[in-house]
C-alpha cells in the first residue's frame, strides 16, 4: 500500500491584500491559506489513499506560525504531517525549499511511493519546487497533471499540454505536480477541523537540516497592477462603427 507525500505551502491569502488609492499594497491585515493548487495535491493524495489504501503525509516548510496551516492540511484527510519550521523560512526561494524537502524526505521518510505537489504556488507561481525536488531525489517528475492513478508499481498520469492530452507512466517512486482540474478540494467539516490537532506531527527545525545555500533573489519592490479606465464615445454612423472596431482591434479585444 502506497505512502504518499503531499507538499503544501502556507501563503498569504490574496483576498486580504488591500489596494490603497495610490496603488500601494497593504498587507497589514492579511490571513494565510494553503496555496490553491496544493489543496488539489492534498485532495488527490487522500483520494488515492481512498482507492489504494496506504497513508498520506502532508509536508510543509515554513515559519513556526504556520501551525494553523498544518492543522488545515490535516483536516483535509492526511494521516500525519511533517512540519519543517524556522523563523528564517519566511522568504525561502524555490531552490532552497526543494533542497530542504529533499533533505527531510531522504533522511526521514525512506519508503515513500509518490510525492504530489501543486503545479505552482498562489504567491510566486515559479513552478520550481516540484521539479527540483524530483531532481534532488533522482526520481521521475510528471508535470501539468490533470488525472493520476497508481497501477501496480507505476504511476499513470494525464498531462495537459498545449497540443492536447499526453498519457504517461513512470515507475514508483515518482513525483507529480497537479493542475486545479484534477479534483475539487473538500471544504473540511467542523469535526475534521477539531480532530486535526490530534493527528501526529513530526516537527523538524533548521538545526536538524544540512546547511542551506544562500538566497539569490531579491525583492526590489511591489505594487498593485493598475487598471486604467478610458471612456471613448462612438456614434452610430458607418464611419464611427469602423472606428469602434479599429479601436477594439488595437486594444486586442478582437482580432
Amino acid at each position: 500500500m502506497p505512502t504518499i507525500i503531499a507538499c503544501f505551502k502556507w501563503v498569504i491569502d490574496e483576498a486580504y491584500i488591500r489596494r490603497g488609492f495610490s496603488g500601494d499594497l497593504d498587507f497589514s491585515s492579511v490571513d494565510y491559506k494553503i496555496s490553491d493548487y496544493d489543496r488539489n495535491a492534498i485532495e488527490e493524495a487522500v483520494r488515492l489513499k481512498g482507492s489504494h489504501g496506504g497513508s498520506v503525509i502532508a509536508m510543509t516548510v515554513g515559519t513556526p506560525e504556520a501551525t494553523k496551516g498544518v492543522k488545515d492540511a490535516l483536516s483535509r484527510g492526511p494521516d500525519q504531517a511533517c512540519f519543517i519550521a524556522d523563523a528564517d523560512f519566511n522568504k525561502l526561494e524555490p531552490s532552497q525549499t526543494a533542497a530542504i524537502l529533499a533533505d527531510v524526505i531522504r533522511s526521514r521518510i525512506v519508503n515513500y511511493d509518490l510525492i504530489l505537489c501543486g503545479e505552482g504556488s498562489s504567491d510566486l507561481y515559479a513552478q520550481q519546487v516540484g521539479a527540483r525536488l524530483a531532481e534532488h531525489l533522482e526520481i521521475p517528475c510528471i508535470s501539468f497533471v490533470q488525472k493520476v492513478d497508481i497501477d501496480g508499481g507505476q504511476v499513470v498520469a494525464e498531462r495537459r499540454v498545449e497540443e492536447g492530452i499526453e498519457i504517461v507512466a513512470a515507475p514508483l517512486p515518482a513525483l507529480v505536480t497537479v493542475l486545479p482540474e484534477i479534483n475539487v478540494p473538500r471544504i473540511p467539516g467542523v469535526k475534521d477541523t477539531l480532530t486535526a490537532s490530534k493527528k501526529p506531527v513530526m516537527t523538524i527545525r533548521k538545526g536538524d537540516l544540512a546547511p542551506l545555500g544562500g538566497a539569490r533573489l531579491q525583492t526590489v519592490g511591489m505594487t498593485a497592477a493598475r487598471m486604467d479606465r478610458i471612456c471613448e464615445k462612438f456614434g452610430t454612423e458607418a464611419a464611427e462603427i469602423t472606428r469602434f472596431v479599429d479601436a477594439l482591434r488595437k486594444k486586442a479585444v478582437i482580432s
Binding site: S75, I187, G189
Partner: protein, 379 residues
Amino acid sequence: MDFKLTEEQELIRKNMREFAEKYVDPIAVEIDENSRHPAELFQKLAEGDWLGMPIPVEYGGAGADYLTHVIAVEELSRSCASTGFTVSIHVGIAAMLILLFGNEQQKQKYLIPLAKGQNLGAFVLTEPGAGTDIMAATTTAVLDGNDYVLNGTKTFTSNGPTGGTYLVFAWTDKAAGRKGMSAFIIPRDTPGMKAGEHFNKMGLRSSQTSEMVFKDCRTPRENLLGKEGAGLAMAMTGFDHGRTGIAAQSVGILQAALDESIRYSKERVQFGAPIARQQAISWMIADMATDLAAARFLTYHAAWLKDQQQPFSKEASMAKLFASEAAMRHTIKAVQIQGGYGYCKGAKVERLMRDAKITEIYEGTSEAQRMIISGNVLR
C-alpha cells in the same frame, strides 16, 4: 485578557466562509424571492457537521464550543441571514435544550438525529395573544393516563412548516404561574399537531414561519422535557442561547453591509472620484465598522461566558440588543450609499435591510431586551 480566537475557530470560520460563498451566495437571492426553504443546502450543512456544532460528539454533534457555533452562524448570515437563523434556532435552541435538560433516552431518540441534521428543530412558544407577555399564553397540556393532551394555537414558529422535532411549551398548571408551564418534545406527524401555511414575510423570507395548531394532540409522558413546571425556566435558558445566535446573525448582516458599502463606494464614481472619498460616505462607513466591532465583541463575549459555564443572560441580551439595532441602523445606510441601485431587488443591501428588521423583533424585542438588562443592572 486574550482577544485571539483559537486556530480551530479561525479555520472553521474560513471553511464556513468558503462553504457560504460556494453554496449559499448563488441561491441567496432566489430563496429570498421565492420564500423557499433550501433543503438541498441543509443536506450539505449536515454533511459538514454544521447543524450539530456545539453538541458533543457522542450525541451526534461536532463537539465544538458555543463560540465556534456563533462564529459559523455569523459567517453563514453574512451570505444569507435566513439560513444563519435557521441553523441558530435548530441547534442553538432546540437541540441545545434537549442536551441541557433531556434525559438519556430523549437524547438518544431526539438529540442525535437533530445534531446530525436528519431533521430540523423548532421552538414553539409564542402565541397570537402572547408575545413579549408570555404569561398570557393559553395552550394547555393535561395529563390523561400516560399521555399529555395539548390544546391551543402557537404562532410565528420558525421551522414550523419544515421542522421534525418541536419543543412545545404549554401550561400544565396555569395557577402555579411561572412554575406552571412545561415543555414537550413532539415529533412531526404526531396526530393533533398541525403546522399552518408559511407566512409571507417582509424579510428573512426563506426561513419558514407558521402557526402551529394543537387539537387534542397526545404525546406520551416520556416526551416531557425536564420536570413538569420547569418549562418557563428552560425557555429562558433557550433565549439566552438563542439571543446570542441572533446577535451573531446581526453581526453577519452588519459585516455584509460593511463589505457591500466598501466595495460599492470604492467603485462608484461621482463628481470625478469614488464616492468613498466623500466625507459623507466615509463617515457612514467608519460608524458602520465601529459598531460592527462593538457588536462582535459583545456577541463573542456572551458566547465565551457560556463556554466558561458562567451566567450570560444579561450579556446575551446586551449583545442581541446592540447588534440587532446596529444591523438595522447600518443596513439603512448601506442602501443609502448605493442609492437607486441599492433600492432595487437583487441588490444585496435591500435584502440585508429587510432581513435586519426582524432581529430587533424576534427572540425578544429590543424593548424586552431593555427590560431584561435594566432589571439586571437595577437589581
